[in-house]
């Protein structure tokens, strides 16, 4: 365990031994992980990345009939600095791909990606020179939502899938907590895909 864990240890009254960083560190990581997962999965603030017609269904998801606020995702943010999950809604052209990557890089950890619709997930009917055949060639995608476009309840099902995925992943070490990218360094490709 890195010594940085001890700063967390001091704030946790239930920690048994401060000196035993290996043992105490795991207790802290597990406890903090439980709280972080609950907090994160229930307040996934999406970044609006409406690229095409799927964005209309994404707006419909926020409206009162389907009301994604019931799952804590109503706060659509126009800036990547305040967003947790990027919903790629629509076909991603090759000209847009570097922009998408830059905005993904600007999002702070922890961050997730939902690829909404056939075009964002695989290119859909647009199997041509202009469209990226799947947004996962540019950013790591957590949940794929098929449909053309997916109805609001299908998108909500995708958000629920993402919540389930966040809750299932157990943090093994401090870096897995994804608290601060500047402290632990960016995640490797293997860690992102796991």
């Amino acid at each position: 365990m890195p010594s940085r864990v001890e700063t967390l240890v001091l704030h946790d009254s239930s920690t048994p031994v401060i000196g035993d960083t290996q043992k105490a560190g795991n207790v802290v990581v597990t406890g903090a992980d439980f709280l972080l997962k609950a907090a994160r999965s229930n307040s996934l603030w999406p970044l609006t990345f409406g690229l095409a017609c799927c964005a209309i269904e994404m707006m419909g998801t926020v409206a009162s009939r389907f009301d994604i606020a019931r799952f804590g995702s109503e706060a659509f943010r126009a800036t990547p600095r305040q967003a947790d999950v990027m919903i790629i809604a629509g076909r991603l052209s090759k000209k847009m791909a570097p922009v998408l990557r830059q905005i993904y890089d600007q999002m702070p950890e922890p961050k997730w990606v939902i690829s909404m619709g056939a075009c964002a997930s695989s290119g859909g009917v647009y199997n041509n020179y202009a469209i990226v055949q799947g947004a996962d060639q540019v950013v790591p995608v957590d949940v794929y939502v098929p449909g053309c476009p997916p109805s609001p309840d299908a998108l909500i099902y995708g958000v629920l899938k993402l919540q389930e995925k966040i809750r299932k992943k157990n943090a093994a070490n401090f870096k897995d907590l994804r608290l601060w990218e500047g402290l632990t360094g960016a995640r490797t490709l293997e860690e992102v895909e796991a």
């Binding site: 949940v143 939502v145 098929p146 629920l160």
Partner: protein, 150 residues
């Protein structure tokens, strides 16, 4: 005094009146994971391969669905039926039937093109998943279960 009544009290009371009227309206939100809304009659979602009442598959492996598909997401490989191993009433059956559900746009052209009504788009929209590989729907996943013996 009358100015106070007109400029402050009246707008406030009428404003709360709007709130009070809205309170009596029926709620519009569909409580989705617990209650699913009724889908429209022509809604097209997840495909299913149908069987006849005898248990034989309706699909005869003609690949017309694959030809009609604008996204080119259907793959059909046909094989001959024999008298010992019979899957469909026709000469041939689909030995492999795969749909790339992530590329499918649920247009229903496959259903329109099918001469035997084997492929039907049903109303299950809960298809989201976390890995790309899991979206290749094989014949085993698409085919309806055998009808229960009566």
């Amino acid at each position: 005094m009358s100015g106070l009544l007109r400029d402050i009290l009246k707008p406030v009371v009428s404003g709360f009146g709007i709130t009070a009227r809205r309170l009596s309206h029926a709620k519009v939100t569909v409580m989705y994971p617990e209650h699913k809304r009724e889908q429209y009659p022509r809604t097209r979602w997840r495909h299913a391969l149908k069987r006849y009442d005898s248990g034989l598959e309706k699909c005869i492996g003609c690949s017309l669905c694959a030809g009609a598909c604008p996204a080119r997401c259907i793959f059909v490989e046909a094989a001959e039926n024999t008298d010992e191993q019979r899957f469909s009433p026709g000469e041939r059956y689909a030995v492999r039937y795969e749909i790339n559900m992530i590329r499918c746009i649920f247009c229903g052209y496959c259903q329109e093109a099918c001469p035997t009504g084997a492929i039907v788009l049903e109303k299950n929209f809960e298809l989201a998943d976390t890995t790309r590989e899991s979206f290749i729907y094989t014949k085993a996943r698409l085919l309806d279960p055998l009808p229960q013996a009566k």
